[in-house]
Symmetry: C2
Subunit: 256 residues, 2 copies
């Protein structure tokens, strides 16, 4: 059955969406079938793969509010072996719509349960906030991947995030584990990156992936072409790093 | 009376906090008295100036929930002419606490109204989301400053943000204007920055500040020392850019 991964960090701009897109592509490259769920109303994961957020048909909002099956909104992407449940403009209002439902925290868990035989991995991109959408991701997921930008402000929110994950595990989802913290936008030209990386490894040890994603302009350019960095520039440092991360992930999950 | 500025963008990691801290310091350097309000529960603006978010006393949460006067929680910072109403751990739960109050959208407006004679500028740092805290900032403010990272995903959210500001102006705060969009993390080594900057200037014209903030590692290092870049490295490109932005801002507001 599928390994369901929530990609979470309430700190903004730390590479959640970039990691969802490029890890999905890297896992697909290694013959895994992958479903991405774009839980961020900004919809960057959808746009980053050239998928529209304005369909007039049923969309992710209807899955949350009316219990429409997730499989009916899934689309293929330009990447082989990668499908997506895209975001939608309507998602900006979804939190208010489900706020009075007693099962508001498990709407996504229910929706993905029928799909876990259809994919090897389900990656959920989350918004920059510990809101009800992120809680839904933590409840539906088997594990959490925390992208951590190698900068000062990004360190600050980490302990709050780890507490929230523990809370979700205790109250909503006992099987939830932290796959790990993934260091990203590592810039070897500046000592701040090295300091943050050393600090995190000292405190969290093995919970930190060995693979570090370097700051690499090809990664930032790729979404403007609607493609993951692996197909935009396969030989770039960014592509190689995400392929290495996929290897390490598969090893941790016993799929290698 | 004080010019109240909301620094807003729901896209994460685009430089909202960095701009609040460094613009405050630059305005203070130009003899303006400045109050910062840290409306983000992450509290990066507070930590970035070395101010604690864990006071056992009354804090910003009590201002929102119990109507405690904002002036009673204001602290001095290490920067002359810059005071702060810091964030607090309790603020993570403030939205739920005020969600049933009929005046939930104007709690901050009421709180700052008594202070507008005490400062030349009040800068409000917002979280990466168009939630009730950001709505409070848009209601209390006279104008909006939108930091825009020169990258692809950051462009995507801009039209949604401008619509939300129009909505706040129509329904909550008729005096609200957009001071401008400020391009930041401009990296002249990569063509993506130039493309985004050209695109934004083409669509928004004069609404875009002439001053661009360059990507500059001294800006990212400064908060780990609890200081604005102006006092961490006064001669850096980052400091000079924020001083230039302050000049441009003062000109737009008729204070020069
Ligand atoms: N390793 C990298 N090298 C260079 N640029 C990167 C890298 N990772 C991400 N970026 C860029 O940094 C910006 C922030 O990344 P991204 O949007 O993926 O973060 P996020 O955590 O999803 O943001 P949000 O909190 O708004 O959802 C984007 O413009 C992206 O292209
Ligand atoms: N001009 C710049 N040059 C280099 N680094 C910068 C610049 N501006 C901001 N940064 C760094 O980029 C990161 C994101 O900036 P910041 O935290 O201010 O954004 P934000 O919009 O407040 O994020 P959030 O959405 O989480 O509130 C920080 O680590 C900051 O130090
Ligand atoms: Mg994102
Ligand atoms: Mg911030």
């Amino acid at each position: 059955t599928a390994r369901i991964l929530a990609i979470v960090n309430q700190k903004g701009g730390v590479g959640k969406t970039t990691t969802t897109i490029n890890l999905a592509a890297a896992l697909a490259f290694k013959n895994q079938s992958v479903l991405m769920v774009d839980l961020d109303p900004q919809g960057n994961a959808s746009t980053g793969l050239g998928v529209s957020k304005n369909t007039p048909n049923q969309n992710l909002f209807d899955v949350f509010v009316d219990g429409v099956g997730l499989e009916s909104i899934i689309q293929k992407t330009s990447v082989e072996n990668v499908d997506i449940a895209p975001s939608h403009m309507d998602m900006a209002g979804v939190e208010i719509e489900i706020s009075q439902k007693s099962d508001r925290a498990i709407r996504l868990k229910t929706a993905v349960s029928g799909l876990s035989k259809a994919y090897d991995y389900i990656l959920i991109d989350c918004p920059p906030s510990l809101n009800m959408l992120t809680i839904n991701a933590l409840t539906a997921a088997r594990s959490v991947l925390v992208p951590l930008q190698c900068e000062f402000f990004a360190l600050e929110g980490l302990s709050q995030l780890l507490k929230t994950v523990e809370m979700a595990k205790a109250n909503l989802n006992p099987q939830l584990v932290i796959d790990g913290v993934m260091l990203t936008m590592y810039d070897q030209r500046n000592r701040l990156s090295a300091q943050v990386a050393a600090d995190v490894r000292k405190h969290l040890g093995r919970a930190v992936f060995k693979t570090m994603i370097p700051r690499n302009v090809r990664i930032a350019e790729a979404p403007s072409f609607g493609r993951p960095v692996l197909s935009y520039d396969a030989k770039s440092k960014g592509s190689l790093a995400y392929l290495q991360l996929a290897d390490e992930m598969l090893l941790r999950h016993g799929k290698r």
